[in-house]
Symmetry: C2
Subunit: 410 residues, 2 copies
């Protein structure tokens, strides 16, 4: 007997019929002798409706109030799923984030989980119940409702799995796992049955939109296996991707996948006096404005100045540029510029660690097709480059081909 | 400076524009130096949408889960109203029932309030904030969300007013107060500027749908003045009805209004052995099934048996009839019958106490127009009769005329 946490996204619970299908699947897992905790998102479209109401009233309103409103979508789904399970003869009990209680900090709209009280859930499971928990939400020490930010339901799922020492956290989506790259861009993309959490972390953070990055970080930290499955695969007989901290049999391939991201914008400040503390002086005000910075590159010039380039989410671009212009003026920098029309492409693979020449092969492949590289950033298991947005699809396809990731005919 | 509780129903907060209008009114009251607590319902239509989802999944589902779902409508409104107030420069803070905390028993879908923690609200008011509270909902000792039943937002308003010792509880509706009867049935219906809570209690329980009966009971018990106003009267210069425990100047009229109700059904069991405890044997199982009984009449026959008639809400009719048939068989009663096509008409007035002949005038008026009376029930300040549903409008009009309630031209 295993303890399984299953997380279903908005499309998987988008209609009463889909909710019943989820109930059927949950019951199959339960009948196979497992204890099951289910985490659900709001029905698809509901969160957007709530956002539209908020925007009609006061888009700049207090984030505490926004969270009170946004958290209602999941609260509806948990009640409906619990009732669907009951109808089919399976006792169930729903919990909001506040009821569990999923204690978070008070960073409304992007709160972080601090603690989960697992006792009431354990009691319900011992009584043979399926426990249904609202994803995406928690509660502060003082009782205000918080939300965990985009994709936060994945994080709720993994955090519950960790808190209850589950055997596996299953994330049901509209795809049956992770592919070598997005099949909409490269039709030859191949399904990956196993991946390390480190690789998944890079795939997710670089833009493969299967799992929310924070949930993967969480799973990595606590060594929680995640399985990505399709909720449209009715009998659960199809493919899935199992993501674990260490892959037992490391395959011989060095590159596992091509990730990409169109959501970033680039900001550059040139001719900055090259002295200690200048990176902090530039990025501090950005961070203080709660803007997340992704890639950061600094080049030292020959004239005692340095050029500094970084990327932010496109949504934060205008705000970040205004801040950077102030900073640049204060620092006596030469020039300050930005570009929204960029894309990031990464090659990812734990095998890369032991294979020299992967980065240079990437650069050569891109150069052969006339794709100019504007920025480079590397880690142990990935190489990311920024290119002009218009070259994105081409870059993904030529890299997918060059690293031998294409689907092999059986 | 006064402390005012204002309650706005679903139509009053039905669109973002209406929510902004409510915010404007709240701010006017605040700027006049009052502390203001606002209780809101779900936006009109929202609760029906949630009920439709519930019915699509499992209409017989657990009431705990139904409450988790149904309570989300009000949770959206409190957030939106708080944000509208903030936008207009008025600091505000929203509370769900669980956050206040409005402690209830665990009778899901019709819970009763046990206690309210007024401290956090007092603190917010002292800081100059407007406090916005979700109507219709509370929380059990163990943290489950409850709802208070139909019209429960009125009850939330009055209960908060009592807990915080407010000066007045204002109920904003789509009418500007209480009339001598429903103007849709009797165009000559007259506005009543002041009423005693006792009279209001009878008017509300007998079917004048302005206020929810439990809220009036609550106000009566704790001597809390209620003012009924129209939320469509933008500058608050219009009419209202103030309802207090004792009216200072008792007018000379004996009958204040004609109330009526089409929502009840009649059940009769005849030839029941006339012995002690028989009423309990008949009504006990009905009450155990959580069905509320309104009028009860018992006639003793000459042959040692008795006839027993009572009314229930039409929604409970099928269920109550099935229970009654079982009871009748067990008691060896002669006959068991029911009728859904009835209506109740009442004359209400505190002045009635000291005026003889009011009841007989009522019976004669109805008889003059050929309206047969099927059941009679009286209290100190009302006489209620059950008639065939088809005679309802006629009965209301002739009684309104007979007791001189018609609008006087100024």
């Amino acid at each position: 007997m295993a303890l399984i946490v299953q997380k279903y996204g908005g499309t998987s619970v988008g209609t009463p019929e889909r909710i019943e299908a989820v109930a059927d699947r949950v019951i199959r897992w339960k009948q196979q002798g497992n204890d099951v905790i289910v985490v659900v998102s709001a029905m698809s479209g509901e969160t957007n409706k709530l956002v539209a109401l908020i925007n009609a009233i006061n888009p700049q309103g207090s984030e505490r109030e926004k969270d009170a409103i946004l958290s209602t979508g999941e609260q509806v789904t948990i009640g409906l799923l619990a009732m669907a399970l009951e109808k089919k003869g399976q006792p169930a009990r729903s919990y909001t984030g506040a009821q569990v209680r999923i204690l978070t900090d008070d960073a409304h709209t992007k709160a972080r989980i601090r603690d989960i009280d697992a006792d009431p859930i354990r009691k319900d499971l011992a009584e043979g119940k399926v426990v249904v928990v609202a994803g995406f939400q928690g509660v502060t020490e003082s009782g205000s409702i918080t939300t965990l930010g985009r994709g936060g339901s994945d994080t709720t799922g993994v955090a519950l799995a960790v808190a209850l020492k589950a055997d596996e956290c299953q994330i049901y989506t509209d795809v049956d796992g992770v592919y070598t790259t997005d099949p909409r861009v490269e039709p030859n993309a191949r399904h990956i049955p196993r991946l390390t959490l480190e690789e998944m972390l890079e795939m997710a953070s670089q833009g493969s939109k299967v799992l929310q990055i924070r949930s993967v970080e969480f799973a990595y930290k606590y060594d929680m296996p995640i399985r990505v499955l399709s909720s449209f695969d009715e009998f659960g007989q199809g493919k899935s991707t199992l993501v674990t901290r260490e892959e037992e049999v490391m395959e011989e391939v060095s590159v596992r996948g091509i990730a990409f991201n169109r959501d970033e914008a680039q900001l550059t400040v040139t001719g900055v006096p090259d002295r200690p503390g200048v990176a902090y002086q530039i990025l501090g005000p950005i961070s203080d404005a709660n803007i997340e910075v992704d890639m950061i590159v600094q080049n030292t010039g020959s004239d005692g100045t340095t050029d500094f380039t970084f990327t932010v989410h496109k949504n934060d671009y205008i705000k970040a540029k205004a801040i950077l212009e102030q900073t640049a003026a204060a620092l006596g920098a030469k020039h300050c510029k930005g570009d929204e029309h960029i894309a990031k492409v990464s090659i990812v693979g734990a095998g890369m660690r032991s294979h020299a020449g992967v980065a240079s092969k990437m650069f050569k492949t891109l150069a052969d097709d006339g794709i100019n590289i504007r920025m480079i950033s590397t880690s142990e298991i990935k190489v990311a480059v920024v290119v002009d947005e218009k070259y994105l699809e081409l870059a993904v396809r030529v890299l997918h081909q060059a690293f031998g990731l294409a689907q092999t005919t059986a």
